[in-house]
């Protein structure tokens, strides 16, 4: 209370202490906060620049949501008012920026925005700097509204760059004109694509001038001078890279960075490596970057600073392509032996990815990974060795080589447990390929593995037991030896339940089962479905914001989703081809083992989606969203989206023209999501035909918690597009923004109609005008399985009419689409052609657009 009194004092010292007190004690105590807000409001209105400054500082420092609610409307007015003092304007701009960062929804856009843009022309450079910061952040979210800032920024920049160093007086810092403002302006320009030709010419001139200045002899020996100059230069280079359109500038930038790579300032080497990393991804400069490979490798070997070495590793990774992969991987492996512990795991992942991506010769790949395990076994995560096994199993040309190499590697007196795992698995599968050589006869292989057995942890031992039973099948001649081992007390009476069970089961299996059965049960593993490497996903996760999330946790969560998705659609059920029973025994739990060439079983493709490349941050739709969307056409429940932070599950029900969708947002991290705001967006067109009502959700989602949102749906008339679900939230200080398509499609409002053959064909004929029929002939994307197809048609919503079509191979369906305004009868016929692996799909409805849309939706499914 005393603090509030101090606030309302007229004395500067008292007021200042009051504000200091409040900034520290920010508890949003409801009673007090009202009084405080009131005092702040008075100060804001006081027209005394000192008091206004104090008030703005306080708001910015606290920056809470309550503050935003109270003042977000007020500050823009102060900012653009003509009579506001420069220093206050500066504070107001940053204060607004702070509020916008914490609660973007509370800062209203309006006519002030255009006036803020004009602050770029302000006389006072401090105001311009602050305004540029503000505009940069706002423009990232509302590029359209601030488009005019581009040309203003460019002209401002060109004025600064070309000015003599004395023109700007106080804002010249060690002979560099307004370095901070230049940096900010260049940052702002990075929010936009290259401007139109007129402005672009001017900008290119600026950038060239900046690059030229770098070549001039320094005007001062002081480190501050070069720092400031280079700060501008690096920002200019980032802009050039961002625009990625002027090959000339790009190459110059690359050369400049090349010079910095050997500069004696560590800071510059660090930044040069960092910028070059982004430069390497541009097609114009990739080759130019590659010329510096020796320097970078040298940096890896000689730099004393781990941060710099880390950057060097990043750059090597970025510049790697088929031509230099062998060299780079070799260098990274070399470095790994002495690398700092903190970055070892990342290097391991990178090596593993590069080795796989650029492997022409898979023997090289196998060698590389085994080397990796030898050098840095502790840092080889499960993903890495899972992946080797997947690749070896999928490529029969390396299996023999792999078996031979692991066999040799295992002979080292001390080898890492991960090597034992890989060795055990590979020999269990392909040991027979090298058994012909007397030096690696079955018994020798077995003894070699068993010599490691007692030194290993429980999971590895379990895996080895599975290898043994596989040996029983591969090499009947050592069956007795293996049975003896399994029978020994240390196995049969092992304290660990898993080991004991495996020993008992395998022993029984080997004694009872005939060779035929053994051969079937212990058959070679089927190839894994091809998909993006899980290692890559791991690396992305490591790089992403959620370095905290425990991998195990995610796995668990993921598997519980699979089991938990309310009703496994019939499609999935029939999809699971009989997996070899040994699959589960081998303890590769994280790798889905279904022999599923057939249609996307929800688990399989889910993983693909999660791993799909998400490099384009600004992309309007989250990657994989389309695939996920397609999967929901014939089903109502499941996981719509998942990344390392967030999982979105759906559960929906539809009846006639009404529907209800439950959206579940799960926070997968251990940190709170703030300002969590999901919005369902309908295009204008869609709004007239689809009525969606959502309730807002709590803006805070605790770590590990799940919140639910209900969407009530009413279909007014037939529609084409799907609504978009946009989700924004703040995680660990960064704003996350993602969009997915919400699977509300026309076919959800289907009611099945049963009818006889006669009725069907009678109606079929009635709907014979060319506008009512839409036909599509397409290649089967998935194996043509009758049961799956039936399930999909039912899932699509129509009735499946049996014994209607004279050709029993064809499928026909009928139903009515219910909308509020009209009801549309629909007939469909699907004719598979097994020889050609094609389908012909015909839809006849009373409305052309509906036939068209349904045909589109359904064609995607087969």
């Amino acid at each position: 209370m005393e603090a509030v009194n101090l606030l309302s004092s007229n004395r500067y010292t008292e007021k200042q202490i009051g504000y200091l007190f409040i900034s520290v004690l920010v508890n949003s105590n409801s009673e007090l906060i009202r009084l405080i807000n009131n005092a702040i409001k008075n100060d804001l209105a006081s027209r005394n620049p000192t008091f206004m400054g104090l008030a703005l500082h306080c708001i910015a420092n606290v920056g809470s949501r309550e503050m935003a609610e109270a003042f977000a409307g007020e500050i823009p007015k102060i900012l653009v008012a003509g009579d506001t003092m420069d220093s206050v304007k500066q504070s107001a701009a940053l204060c607004l920026l702070r509020l916008y960062r914490t609660s973007p929804d509370l800062v209203p856009m309006g006519d002030w925005t255009s006036r803020v843009v004009h602050l770029l022309n302000d006389q006072h450079l401090g105001v311009v700097t602050a305004a540029t910061s503000l505009i940069t952040t706002l423009a990232q979210k509302n590029p359209e509204e601030f488009k005019t800032s581009v040309s203003l920024a460019v002209s401002r920049l060109s004025r600064i760059v070309t000015s003599a160093s004395t023109d700007l007086q106080d804002y010249t810092y060690y002979f560099v004109p307004a370095p901070w403002l230049s940096v900010k302006l260049l940052r702002l320009l990075q929010c936009y694509p290259p401007p139109d030709p007129a402005v672009r010419g001017r900008l290119t001139e600026c950038l060239e001038t900046i690059l030229n200045k770098a070549q001039e002899p320094p005007k001062s020996k002081k480190v501050q001078h070069s720092n400031a100059k280079n700060a501008v230069l690096f920002e200019a280079i980032s802009l050039i890279i961002h625009h990625d359109s002027e090959p000339n500038l790009l190459v110059r930038a690359c050369n400049q960075l090349g010079q910095f790579l050997q500069h004696r300032e560590t800071n510059l080497r660090y930044l040069a490596l960092e910028s070059m990393c982004t430069l390497a991804s541009s097609e114009f400069s990739h080759e130019a970057v590659k010329t510096h490979i020796e320097t970078v490798i040298n940096a890896l070997k000689t730099e004393r600073d781990v941060s710099v070495r880390q950057r060097a590793v990043d750059l090597l990774y970025a510049m790697c392509d088929r031509s230099n992969a062998q060299q780079i991987v070799a260098e990274m492996l070399n470095y790994l032996e002495t690398a700092d512990y903190s970055i070892r795991e990342e290097i391991v992942l990178k090596v593993a990815i590069l080795a796989e991506k650029y492997a022409v010769d898979y023997t090289w790949y196998v060698d590389t990974i085994l080397n990796l395990i030898r050098i840095a076994g502790d840092y080889v995560s499960e993903e890495v060795w899972y992946r080797v096994i997947q690749i070896v199993i999928n490529r029969d040309d390396v299996q023999g080589y792999a078996a031979k190499t692991v066999f040799e590697a295992l002979q080292a007196p001390a080898c890492h447990e991960n090597l034992v795992k890989v060795g055990g698995y590979i020999l269990g599968e392909f040991g027979n390929l090298i058994a012909g050589d007397p030096r690696s006869s079955p018994l020798i292989q077995f003894n070699l593995l068993h010599s490691k057995f007692h030194l290993c942890s429980v999971p590895t031992r379990a895996l080895l037991l599975s290898t043994y039973i596989k040996f029983v099948n591969l090499f009947p001649e050592i069956k007795i030896t293996i049975q003896d081992v399994l029978r020994s007390d240390s196995q049969l009476k092992n304290a660990d339940v898993e080991l004991q069970q495996r020993a008992v089961e395998y022993l029984r299996l080997s004694t009872i089962a005939s060779t035929d059965i053994l051969a079937t049960v212990l058959e070679e593993m089927p190839p894994f479905p091809e998909r993006e490497s899980s290692i890559l996903a791991k690396l992305k996760k490591k790089k992403g914001p959620s370095t905290v999330t425990d991998l195990e946790e995610i796995k668990k969560e993921r598997s519980s989703d699979m089991n938990g998705s309310a009703e496994p659609t019939p499609v999935n059920a029939s999809n699971v081809s009989t997996p070899s029973p040994s699959a589960d025994l081998l303890g590769l739990g994280a790798v889905p083992l279904t022999n599923s060439a057939p249609a996307p079983s929800s688990s399989g493709s889910l993983l693909v989606d999660v791993f799909s490349d998400s490099s384009s941050v600004a992309a309007p739709l989250a990657p994989g969203s389309e695939d996920n969307f397609a999967r929901f056409i014939c089903k109502n429940n499941g996981v719509l989206f998942e990344n390392q932070l967030l999982q979105i599950g759906l559960k929906s029900e539809f009846r006639q023209n009404l529907g209800r969708m439950f959206i579940f947002y799960g926070n997968k991290t251990s940190t709170q999501f703030l300002n969590f705001t999901p919005t369902v967006i309908c295009s204008d067109e869609l709004q007239s035909s689809l009525n969606l009502q959502t309730k807002p959700v709590d803006p805070i989602v605790d770590g590990g918690a799940q919140v639910q949102q209900v969407v009530n749906i009413e279909c007014i008339s037939d529609f084409m597009d799907a609504p978009i679900l946009n989700i924004q939230f703040r995680y660990g200080g960064t704003l996350q923004n993602l969009s997915v398509k919400l699977p509300i499609t026309l076919n959800k409002f289907f009611q099945p109609t049963e009818m006889s053959s006669q009725d069907f064909f009678q109606r079929w004929k009635q709907l014979s005008s060319p506008k009512q029929e839409v036909q599509n002939i397409f290649k089967a994307k998935h194996p043509m399985d009758t049961e799956i197809t039936k399930a999909k048609i039912i899932g699509f919503g129509s009735a499946l009419l049996e014994e209607v079509d004279p050709n029993p191979a064809n499928f026909v369906g009928a139903g009515i689409i219910h909308t509020k305004t009209i009801q549309i009868g629909c007939l469909l016929r699907l004719e598979p052609n097994l020889q050609a692996q094609m389908y012909r799909l015909t839809l006849r409805t009373s409305k052309e657009a509906v036939s068209q849309r349904l045909c589109e939706l359904l064609s995607e499914q087969f």
């Binding site: 004395r11 500067y12 010292t13 920010v26 000192t50 703005l56 500082h57 910015a60 420092n61 920056g63 809470s64 220093s87 500066q90 504070s91 940053l94 204060c95 920026l97 702070r98 914490t102 450079l125 401090g126 700097t129 910061s133 940069t136 952040t137 106080d170 804002y171 810092y173 370095p179 901070w180 940096v183 940052r187 501050q224 720092n227 400031a228 280079n230 700060a231 690096f234 920002e235 560590t266 800071n267 080497r269 660090y270 930044l271 004393r304 600073d305 941060s307 710099v308 880390q310 790089k543 914001p545 959620s546 370095t547 940190t671 709170q672 703030l674 703040r730 660990g732 200080g733 960064t734």
Partner: protein
């Protein structure tokens, strides 16, 4: 983002904090932990290595960087997110130190310890809510002088009999 300075004897002053994660947790412990971690990271680095450090977990993950400068016995550490230019912040630290130098006339470590409030005010003129406010040294010094004058004139009033209350 926050600013801190530390001397070589593990006596660290956290001058300024402004980070959403800090605000929500509001915990003194975490602040102390951050100081310790930062000090640990920064103090064991040699001269001639680079002045940027990838953020640890505590300061908000890989988006945040520690940028520090070493002056005689003191380390000045800024923690900033990716919206700031690294070299720019390095220069800002220089401006900060030069400003301190001007305001205290040959600043030394003890000045900073005994006049934390003043240091705080100077920093408040430069950085606001974790964002760079003013980089022009003369402007900053003018503001600080104006404040000092105000303070002095008011102290004078305090010492005279207070009739207004």
């Amino acid at each position: 983002s926050f600013t801190g300075l530390a001397n070589q004897t593990f006596c660290t002053v956290l001058l300024y904090k402004n980070s959403p994660s800090l605000k929500t947790r509001e915990s003194e412990d975490i602040q102390q932990q951050i100081i310790r971690e930062t000090f640990h990271l920064v103090s064991k680095r040699d001269e001639n290595v680079c002045n940027f450090l990838e953020g640890g977990l505590l300061i908000g993950g890989s988006d945040n960087k520690l940028i520090y400068r070493h002056y005689a016995t003191l380390y000045f550490v800024f923690c900033v997110d990716s919206s700031e230019s690294e070299l720019g912040i390095l220069d800002l630290i220089q401006v900060f130190v030069e400003t301190l130098d001007k305001c205290f006339e040959n600043v030394c470590e003890l000045d900073l310890i005994f006049h934390v409030d003043k240091v705080h005010n100077i920093l408040a003129e430069m950085v606001m809510g974790g964002m760079v406010l003013e980089t022009n040294m003369n402007e900053i010094v003018t503001q600080i002088d104006a404040q000092n004058k105000l303070e002095k004139s008011e102290t004078f009033i305090f010492q005279s009999p207070r009739q207004d209350r």
